[in-house]
Symmetry: C2
Subunit: 227 residues, 2 copies
């Protein structure tokens, strides 16, 4: 077995993919780890190492072929064919997601949307009809859904998450700052804005001190935070 792949490496694959899509649009067909590092704000070595976990994609003395690399990464991430996403909760956030124009380019397609408000049920947004959340389980089973996005009020999140787990959903992206207590075989990621805001506030209010420290030649105390 090859040495295990860092979780961080997986997290960088999609940003690489996005950068490569841009490069294709610009007509560039070869890129070095140094140039890509500039674009992504990373060290070139880590880019080479990231790719090396999956194979030898580059040519020494030349660099990487942009479109080959892009396709390779898309395959590693499994984004072809498009991943089918179900959205639960069509409030402001759910609405924004349904209207987000780039999901399909990026490899995702919202194919189901649910809400519990009768005024919303039956409405169609961007080709997706909002359905009654009562039929959640039935509908999830008939479509093969890869990922559920939970955009319901915080109070409803645990109940829905539990229903999703029971239905066999394997991945949940939640907008509730959760401790959703899911079994280990279900992957959950929470978008926790307050935590990110708190972190930003903490570091930005200490920036004065770290500037002083860096004048003294000490090393940076915190790494640059970027998701």
């Amino acid at each position: 077995m090859k040495t295990s792949i860092p979780n961080e490496t997986i997290g960088r694959l999609f940003p690489y993919f996005r950068a490569l899509m841009c490069l294709i649009k610009e007509g560039k067909d070869t890129i070095s780890s140094y140039e890509l590092a500039d674009l992504c704000n990373l060290n070139p070595a880590i880019i080479r190492k990231d790719f090396s976990y999956f194979g030898d994609f580059g040519k020494r003395g030349v660099g990487y072929n942009v479109s080959n690399l892009m396709n390779t990464i898309r395959n590693i991430l499994g984004l072809i064919p498009l991943k089918r996403v179900a959205l639960i909760g069509v409030g402001n956030i759910g609405n924004a997601l349904l209207l987000y124009p780039n999901f399909e380019l990026e490899g995702f397609k919202i194919v189901l949307a649910f809400d519990n408000q009768s005024t919303k049920i039956g409405r169609k947004i961007n080709g997706v009809t909002i359905e009654d959340v009562s039929y959640l389980e039935k509908r999830l089973k008939s479509h093969k859904i890869h990922l559920c996005i939970l955009a319901v009020p915080e109070s409803a999140a645990p109940v829905i998450a539990h229903r999703l787990a029971k239905t066999g959903v394997k991945a949940i992206l939640s907008f509730s700052p959760c401790q959703l207590a899911m079994p280990d075989n279900i992957k959950v990621t929470c978008v926790d804005l307050s935590t990110e805001m708190a972190r930003l506030v903490y570091y930005s209010s200490r920036e004065i001190f770290s500037e002083i420290r860096s004048l003294q030649g000490k090393t940076e105390r915190h790494k640059k935070v970027s998701i």
Copy 2:
């Protein structure tokens, strides 16, 4: 100088804070690292270590006083008085943020909101009047803003970010999957949904294999992802 504080520790402070608020509501006045670890899905040792960077808050044989600990963490994060936040872009996401009921409990207050659509300018949401983004710089300077939230269309993000930087803003939370290329003294965090979705898809589709691995007694290959 004390040993440097891990970035990860800072990222856990707010979840601790939130958990402690809940405990207070439940009337609990003492908690051990073991119980808190259970609530937050962490190892007790890391909780003790996290707190130890800031002082000796616990009593051996007893645990931590819930309300003292909560107040201490709130102070470390600098969340009293409330941090003043400016929101740029009142689309669906901006709207959702303005309506989010818990910000003030959590230490944040949106005091300014901007948009460029004349139909929105002048409207009042949750006590905040939407202003013309033309006056961004002037208004930011007159209020003392700790954090800006960027919820504008992707195409507008770089321009606005640049204007914020020029105005002296120190922290930006952006909803555009960005490489915002800001100077180092400005802290930027991007909420990048597609990257998180890609990560979830990657791991959830490989779950079968890691189950097999764990039957063979090998260690987990990826840590649980939770922001």
